[in-house]
Amino acid sequence: MGQIIPYIVNGVSVGGQYALIAIGYTLVYGILRLINFAHGDVFMVAGLVMVYTTTALPLYISLPLVLIATVVLGFTIERVAYKPLRTAPRMSVMISAIGVSYLIQNLAFYITGGVPQPVTKPIPWISNNVELFGGSTKMVTLVTPVLTIALVFVLVYLINHTKIGMAMRAAAKDFETAQLMGIKINSVISMTFVIGSFLAAIGSILYFTNYPSVAITSGGMPGLKAFVAAVFGGIGSIPGAVVGAFIIGLCEEIIKGLGYTTFSDAFTFALLIVVLCVKPTGLFGEKVTDKV
């Protein structure tokens, strides 16, 4: 039992990081009905920017810079690649998302030369080692869940009690009617990408503190898993995405703890297929009926 505790702690931490990415998926899907395949790559870019800026600049400049750069990237992707396709079939938008993901990865490959960039100057405090239950772990493992929960509370408040939040809820409920009611749909959509990218950047800073380097493919897997978490929790629902992410993070680390590391990724996708077949609306999702 004592041996499994570090894995559980780790699982909660990884879950928190997935949750921060998953919110980006769930917000965008809620409004645009689009799987933003590029979101995982935005997460990776945030990691790369962190590596580059922290080595060159002091912390109080580099960290805000990471957040700003990621938000700008997310905003630009939406404006350039998704906005022109607003009236196109859903498949075209999804293909565009895949194209953007491909483009970001190839650009990152060109810039980094395809070499994983080592995290040379990890952020102080959160990368310190702490003793916990007889094992040693990094401070970030403890910080992540707390920070995640705090951010989720802020976000839920934002969505339930502010004007832009109300607009987002309206757009998610009925895109066209929201437009008719005078909601500036484009700024609402941009806002969801800004929030999503901002949270992904924070998730990225926390995630890569635990890793020695950032590779151009580092974003793919966490991205897909966060998406699975969003589906598991019921896509479009923020609490659902968070709960789903924590469950997936925990399961994954426990599977690793049991010695089946090869299958930790496979498990996530198996869970996805089971959830989609048994309860496609997820844990907290609303039931949607298709009309002819």
């Binding site: 194209g99 491909y102 810039i111 897909l224």
Partner: protein, 371 residues
């Protein structure tokens, strides 16, 4: 009627000329020449792209599991054809690894070495395809009930699960775990690839022009209307999924031949994305487009734009800009431009014979005006 005859002759002519060029290149150039490599790789990609187009373009099922089915085909081919005498070196980390038989040796014993090897290779390819089809059937039972993007993500997940299984050491005695499979027989020349992939693509074309093909298109255009016309949705979707996977499996086997070694790593989701983008460049719903786009894509990425990666391009020498990775960066920008501004791709939904039609729209307008 006259037009149809003309079209048939035109199509046959174009295909014959292309085939003759391929044979000629094979006879005059050594098999390691870049032209031969490009033809080999492009035909493999063309087959997989067409199989994906059958599903995504003609049936309207947005599936991203192609890499998984290719993986199945590739591994089946490799495992079945590694000759008995080479098994000890290939499976060096697994004692007595590999199957207790090898198609290369069995058919080599029956038909003699040369013919037997080829027969063994073809049968292994076929079995790879059938295994992929079987998996498609099983996976399709739950997954095909899902709608567009959920289907995409579920099939993508399935491909990742397969990849994990093939890298698992528990299956090591057969799949060689995370080590390479190698030393299996391959074709050196380009012609066999062209013949094989060409035959497969011809089969797909026949299928698309049959009643089944028309049913697929009806489902793509409007599911509810198709169902109202008496098309069994579940049956046809399953059929399309299984057939597409069968050809993807065979494509995977050919890919294994082309690469010379098999590992699970190259069959990642990026491969599926690459093929999907080829289909988009060629035009969703056009077989000719997919084939054309595969050749263009492989030709430019393997040959034409090589210079972008190695310092000199079009005589401009700028190693600082033209460094490793620039080629793919330029490529992805082109792809984004096509995705955003030329959504129909090169061919739209036209095929090779349709090129003979001269501006059908304006002619129709004239006829309408004349009446």
């Amino acid at each position: 009627m006259k037009m149809n005859k003309k079209k048939t002759i035109f199509t046959a002519g174009v295909l014959l000329v292309l085939f003759a060029v391929c044979v000629l290149l094979d006879l005059t150039l050594p098999s390691y020449h870049i032209a031969v490599t490009v033809i080999k790789k492009a035909t493999v990609y063309a087959l997989v792209a067409v199989s994906m187009n059958l599903l995504n373009g003609f049936t309207g099922l947005f599936s991203l599991g192609q890499a998984g089915f290719m993986l199945l085909g590739a591994y089946t081919y490799g495992v079945l054809t590694i000759p008995d005498e080479k098994k000890a070196t290939v499976y060096q980390y697994f004692e007595n690894g590999g199957l207790p038989f090898s198609f290369t040796n069995i058919f080599g014993g029956i038909f003699g070495d040369k013919v037997g090897t080829v027969v063994g290779m073809l049968i292994a390819l076929l079995i790879g395809g059938m295994l992929a089809a079987l998996f498609a059937f099983l996976i399709g039972l739950p997954v095909l009930r899902l709608k567009s993007d959920y289907l995409a993500i579920a099939t993508l997940g399935f491909a990742e699960i397969l990849k994990a299984f093939f890298q698992w050491n528990g299956l090591g005695p057969i799949t060689n775990g995370s080590n390479l499979l190698k030393s299996y027989p391959t074709f050196n020349k380009a012609t066999p690839y062209v013949l094989l992939a060409g035959a497969m693509i011809a089969l797909i074309v026949l299928l698309i022009n049959s009643t089944y093909g028309r049913a697929f298109k009806a489902i793509r255009d409007d599911e509810v209307a198709a169902e109202a016309m008496g098309i069994n949705l579940a049956k046809h979707k399953r059929l399309s999924f299984i057939i597409s996977s069968f050809f993807a499996g065979i494509g995977g086997g050919l890919m294994a031949m082309y690469m010379g070694t098999i590992a699970a790593a190259p069959f990642k989701s990026a491969l599926t994305y690459e093929i999907l983008l080829i289909v988009v460049i060629g035009g969703i719903g056009s077989i000719t487009g997919s084939v054309l786009a595969s050749f263009l894509y492989i030709f430019s990425s393997e040959w034409l734009l090589r210079g972008l990666d190695s310092g000199t391009f079009l005589g401009i020498n700028a190693p600082a800009v033209f460094k490793n990775g620039f080629r793919m960066a330029v490529f992805s920008v082109i792809i984004m431009v096509i995705v955003l501004f030329f959504r129909k791709g090169i061919m739209g939904d036209k095929e090779l014979p349709d090129l003979l039609d001269k501006r059908p729209k304006s002619r129709k307008k004239k006829e309408a005006a004349g009446k």
